[in-house]
C-alpha cells in the first residue's frame, strides 16, 4: 500500500478546496440559507406541518441531501476531470500507485468535503429551525454512505467525461431533477396517486426518505429499504469503477 501517495492526492485535493473556499463551501451554504428563507419561511409559513413535523424542519434532511449529492458529484468529478483535461494525470498514471489508492485519494477527499459541507448546512439550519435527530447513528450512517457513494459516482462521471459539457450533463440533467422530485421539499403523500407510483422509481427518494426518518421517524418508504438502496448504489459504483480501472478506460490508451 502506497500510503504516501494516497496522502499526497488527498492533501492536494483538500488544498484545492482551501484555494477555492468561496466556491466550494460558501456558495452551497448561502444557497441553502436562501432555500430556508424561501421555502422554510416564506412558503413554509403557509404550510403548517408535514406528518406532524414543522415544514421548516421537514425540509432540512432534503436540503442536506440536495447539497451533499450535487457537491459530492461536482467535487469528485472535477477532481479527476481537471488533471485529465490539463494532462497532469500523467503523473498519477506513471506513479507506483494502484487504482484503489488513486480512488482512496480522490474520492476520500471529495467525500470529506461533502461531509464538511453537510455539517455546515446542518449548523446553518439550526439558525432557522428547531431540529431534533431521533437516530443519530442512522443519520450519520446515511450521511457518510451518501457522501462516499456519490463521490464515487462523481469520480465515474469525471472519468467518463471528455469535455466540460459532459461533466455538467448528468449533475444538471439527471441529479438535480431526481433530487427535487425525490421529496426534498414534500412528502410523496402530497402527490396524486399516479405520481406517487412514479416517484417510487426515483432512487433519490429512498435516500431522502431514509435520511429524514433518522431525523423525525417519518418516511415515505421503509428505512431498511432505503438503506438497501444506498448500499446497492454504492456497490454498483464500486463495480463500475473497478471495470473502468481494469480496462484502463479513457485513462490508458
Amino acid at each position: 500500500m502506497n500510503t504516501e501517495a494516497v496522502k499526497a492526492i488527498y492533501r492536494a485535493e483538500m488544498r484545492r478546496t482551501r484555494n477555492t473556499l468561496l466556491q466550494s463551501i460558501a456558495t452551497p451554504v448561502i444557497s441553502t440559507a436562501l432555500y430556508f428563507v424561501v421555502f422554510g419561511s416564506a412558503i413554509g409559513s403557509r404550510i403548517q406541518s408535514v406528518n406532524d413535523v414543522p415544514y421548516g424542519a421537514f425540509i432540512v434532511p432534503g436540503l442536506m441531501m440536495l447539497s451533499i449529492l450535487t457537491q459530492s458529484i461536482s467535487n469528485a468529478s472535477f477532481g479527476i476531470f481537471f488533471p485529465k483535461f490539463t494532462g497532469t494525470i500523467y503523473e498519477v498514471m506513471s506513479a507506483p500507485i494502484s487504482f484503489l489508492e488513486i480512488l482512496l485519494g480522490y474520492v476520500g477527499a471529495a467525500a470529506t468535503k461533502s461531509m464538511i459541507l453537510g455539517v455546515l448546512i446542518l449548523i446553518t439550519a439550526t439558525f432557522f429551525v428547531d431540529l431534533r435527530i431521533a437516530h443519530p447513528f442512522w443519520m450519520l450512517s446515511f450521511f457518510l454512505l451518501t457522501c462516499i457513494s456519490f463521490s464515487l459516482f462523481g469520480f465515474i462521471i469525471g472519468l467518463w467525461a471528455d469535455n466540460f459539457e459532459k461533466l455538467q450533463l448528468i449533475p444538471s440533467l439527471v441529479i438535480t431533477p431526481l433530487v427535487f422530485l425525490g421529496g426534498s421539499f414534500y412528502s410523496i403523500d402530497m402527490l396524486p396517486e399516479f405520481w406517487q407510483k412514479v416517484s417510487l422509481f426515483n432512487p433519490v427518494l429512498y435516500l431522502i426518505s431514509g435520511f429524514r426518518w433518522s431525523f423525525f421517524e417519518v418516511s415515505d418508504v421503509s428505512m431498511g429499504f432505503s438503506l438497501a438502496m444506498i448500499l446497492l448504489f454504492l456497490l454498483t459504483c464500486i463495480v463500475v469503477v473497478g471495470v473502468m480501472f481494469r480496462t484502463g478506460y479513457k485513462l490508458k490508451p
Binding site: 504516501e4 501517495a5 499526497a8 492526492i9 492536494a12 484555494n19 490539463t86 506513479a95 507506483p96
Partner: protein
C-alpha cells in the same frame, strides 16, 4: 561497456492504438545502466509512445519491458519507483504552489516528505525564490524547471526526458545539461528524445534512431558517426570555372562560390576514398588548387541519411 547489464530491457515491444495507428512495430532495445541514450527521430516516429509504454502511461499491444529485472506490468510498483519522467508538454496544474506540486510528486512515488532534499533540488534548478509562487504565474522556461524538479523529486534511477529542450532558453539548457551531468555521475540512467541532433551529439553516449515505429540504428555515438559518416573534401580553385570539366564527371563534384569551389563527397568508411585519384585528375584537367579542406558530416546529416534510406 558492452558487458554492463541493462537497466531497461525491451523485447518485441509493439503498440497499435485503438484507431488502428501502429505507433511501434516491435522494438528490441537494451538500455545500459548509467548511460545517456538519445533517441532521435522525426515527429510521429514513436519516441513518445516508447517512453509512455515504459512509464506505464500506455498499455503495450505486444512485447515485454523490464526495468532492473522487474516486469513493468506485473511489478509496476517496483519499476515505476525507479523511473522519473519529464513530459514533452508543459503539463502542470495551474492553481498550485511550486513547492507543493514538487512535494506532491514525491508523495505519489511513495516517498515521505523530505524538505531538505526538495529545497536542494529547487535550488539546483534556480527555483528557490519561486517556491511559494503559483505555477500559473511562471514563464514557460520556469515551468519546464518545475517539471524537471517533479521528475527528480523521488530520486529516480532512470530518467526520461521527452524533448527536454523544446522551447527552452540557453540558460536553462545549460542548467539542464549540468544536472544531467551530475545525475550521470551519480549513476542515473538518462534517456532523452530529441530531434535536435546537436543535443544528442553533445551529451549522449549512444544514439538510437527511430522512424516509423522502428528502431533503425543503435550505436555508440562515435561508432555511428564513423560508420555512417561521410566526409567532404572542399577544393578551392585558383581560377574559377564555369562548369565542372567533362573528364571529372565521374567524381560527382558540386560547384559553388561562383565557380571557385569544388566539393567532393566521399564515404569515410571506404578504404579507397578516391581523393588521390581526384587530385591527379584535377591537375590533368589543368585546374590549379589553392586550398584543400576536409570535414566530417554531423549527426544531423547521418540522421537524415538513415531516415531517408528507410522511407
Amino acid at each position: 561497456m558492452d558487458n554492463a547489464k541493462p537497466i531497461v530491457s525491451i523485447r518485441g515491444l509493439a503498440k497499435t492504438y485503438a484507431g488502428g495507428h501502429q505507433a511501434l512495430k516491435g522494438i528490441d532495445l537494451d538500455i545500459r545502466e548509467g548511460e545517456i541514450l538519445a533517441l532521435l527521430g522525426p515527429n510521429g516516429a514513436g519516441k513518445t509512445t516508447l517512453i509512455s509504454l515504459i512509464c506505464g502511461l500506455v498499455s503495450p499491444s505486444a512485447g515485454t519491458v523490464t526495468v532492473a529485472g522487474h516486469d513493468i506490468i506485473k511489478d509496476y510498483r517496483k519499476t515505476r519507483e525507479l523511473i522519473g519522467l519529464v513530459p514533452q508538454e508543459l503539463t502542470l496544474g495551474a492553481f498550485e504552489k511550486v513547492g507543493n506540486t514538487v512535494l506532491f510528486s514525491r508523495g505519489l512515488y511513495g516517498k515521505a516528505p523530505n524538505a531538505a532534499f526538495i529545497d536542494d533540488l529547487l535550488a539546483e534548478l534556480s527555483l528557490s525564490d519561486k517556491k511559494d509562487n503559483m505555477v500559473q504565474q511562471l514563464s514557460g522556461g520556469m515551468k519546464r524547471r518545475v517539471l524537471i524538479a517533479k521528475a527528480l523529486s523521488h530520486e529516480p534511477r532512470v530518467l526520461f526526458l521527452d524533448e527536454p529542450t523544446a522551447g527552452v532558453d540557453v540558460e536553462l539548457r545549460k542548467d539542464m545539461w549540468a544536472i544531467v551531468e551530475r545525475l550521470r555521475q551519480s549513476g542515473v540512467t538518462i534517456i532523452l528524445t530529441t530531434h535536435y541532433i546537436e543535443e544528442a551529439e553533445e551529451i549522449a553516449d549512444r544514439v538510437g534512431v527511430i522512424s516509423g515505429g522502428e528502431l533503425l540504428e543503435l550505436e555508440d555515438k562515435s561508432t555511428l558517426m564513423a560508420k555512417l559518416g561521410k566526409k567532404q573534401l572542399v577544393i578551392e580553385l585558383k581560377n574559377a570555372v564555369d562548369t565542372v570539366p567533362e573528364q571529372l564527371s565521374e567524381y560527382g563534384l558540386e560547384l559553388s562560390a561562383n565557380g571557385s569551389k569544388l566539393t567532393y563527397t566521399f564515404d569515410a568508411r571506404q578504404e579507397r576514398t578516391g581523393m588521390t585519384a581526384l587530385l591527379t585528375s584535377l591537375s590533368q584537367a589543368g585546374l590549379a588548387v589553392k586550398d584543400l579542406n576536409t570535414s566530417q558530416s554531423s549527426l544531423e546529416d547521418i540522421f537524415v541519411d538513415i531516415v531517408k534510406a528507410d522511407a
